[in-house]
Amino acid sequence: MLLSILLDVNLAIMGAGIGAGLVAIGAGIGIGKIGGSAMEAMARQPESAGKIQTAMLIIAALVEVIALFGIVLNFMISLKT
């Protein structure tokens, strides 16, 4: 009986929702740290602000892709009926 409760597909959909939230936390922390250190570096040396901004955008894209990977997987789980 416990196994039939655990195998209920609604639990999987709930798990997908929780997973999407956790993925958002991960992306937020990662990109927040990148942005924070970029701000700090730009404040220390304003003339290199352009280079720092370019590098920040590129690394933010890399971190964001990992978050989007989690989003896509959770989305596909939530489509299962």
């Binding site: 590129i58 894209a61 890399l62 964001e64 892709v65 989007l68 989003i71």
Partner: protein, 345 residues
């Protein structure tokens, strides 16, 4: 507004940009038809199906519900039993747009198989193949123009479309390819430039309304990563292979342990390239489509207008993501080729 100070080219480009930007508002209207006309009472709007239909490949190119709204792309099949057959995919649909079997073939979930239960080699011109041709034609038009401008303006300042693309080409060559590959970088410049512009144009074309999700298709990104894999390992020199199989500077027993790790590393580099581009582009499209679906789930004008404003801003971010993902793919490929061809230090 004073228009006489702007050249006609600027006016055309600006009006196209404005039309494309505001077309995201009207995309909601074009999607509104399937809800009202084709839905039987009791059949609710299924956002998952709508989103998946726009992300995945398809044998027809569907613009709007109506007699002329669908382009029926050709189906090209090869099987051992039936040989090569070419026909229009409109044969698979009857008058009410239900899927029917045709001539011994059946179409299930965009997968064609024989009625008797065999498999066929599906070489059809699907939506993504047609978008790939469009991408290739766009690149040919742009770069033949750039090359002719370069020939015409030898020694002078660039003009026309050459002035847009030549700084980008020089930037990629001098800041991405040359520092990462070092000596002998000229061999790889054509491939890396083609890679960058193919991915960039493919990403941007995928963002237009009604377009196909070309670079968000894992097959396309897999092929690009596979070509990178082949080029990297074909040009690997002795130092590169020595680093993988018999790592120098490490005690002997550890070298045997490092060998499988290094081999996995050789495989994971193209896999990461594949997944990164596929996920970045597909997830961007899923986000935009989910916001459009919100208006249909809530059946409310206010939600529709609000989500349209958000969609405009997210589409602008997606344009940035399109450029960044093309740049990231190119620079990682350049780094991998650089590590494979660099001399011992």
């Amino acid at each position: 507004m004073i228009f006489k100070n702007l050249s006609i080219n600027t006016l055309i480009v600006r009006s196209i940009v404005l039309i494309l930007t505001f077309s995201t508002f009207f995309l909601n209207v074009s999607l509104a038809k399937p809800i009202d006309d084709n839905t039987e009472p009791g059949e609710a709007f299924n956002p998952g199906d709508m989103i998946m239909h726009h992300i995945l490949d398809s044998h027809v190119w569907h613009f709007w519900d109506g007699h002329y709204g669908t382009i029926y792309l050709p189906v090209i099949l090869y099987s051992n039993e039936r040989g090569l057959e070419v026909f229009s995919s409109s044969n698979f649909f009857d008058d009410h747009h239900n899927i029917v079997e045709y001539n011994g073939y059946k179409l299930v979930d965009e997968h064609i198989s024989l009625l008797e239960g065999g498999s066929v080699f599906d070489l059809s011109i699907t939506k993504n193949v047609a978008a790939l041709f469009m991408n290739a034609i766009a690149m040919l038009i742009v770069f033949i123009g750039v090359a002719q401008g370069f020939k015409k303006n030898k020694g002078k300042a660039p003009s026309g479309i050459q002035s847009v693309f030549e700084p980008i080409i020089i930037y990629i060559r001098d800041e991405v390819i040359k520092p990462n590959i070092g000596k002998g970088y000229e061999k790889f410049v054509p491939y890396l430039l083609s890679l960058f512009f193919f991915i960039w144009f493919g990403n941007i074309i995928g963002l237009l309304p009604g377009a196909a999700n070309l670079t968000g298709n894992i097959s396309v990104t897999l092929v690009l990563a596979a070509i990178t894999f082949v080029i990297t390992n074909y040009n690997g020199n002795a130092t590169y292979w020595k680093h993988i199989f018999w790592t120098p500077g490490v005690p002997l027993p550890l070298r045997v342990l490092i060998l499988p790790v290094e081999l996995i590393g050789v495989i994971t580099k193209p896999i990461s390239l594949t997944i990164r581009l596929f996920v970045a582009i597909s997830a961007g499209h899923i986000v935009i489509l989910s916001l459009i679906a919100m208006a249909f789930i809530f059946h409310s004008w206010a939600v529709g207008i609000g989500s349209s404003v958000i969609i405009v801003f997210i589409s602008l971010i997606e344009i940035l993501v399109a450029t960044i993902q093309a740049y990231v793919f190119t620079i990682f490929t350049a780094v991998y080729i650089g590590t494979a061809t660099q001399e011992a230090h």
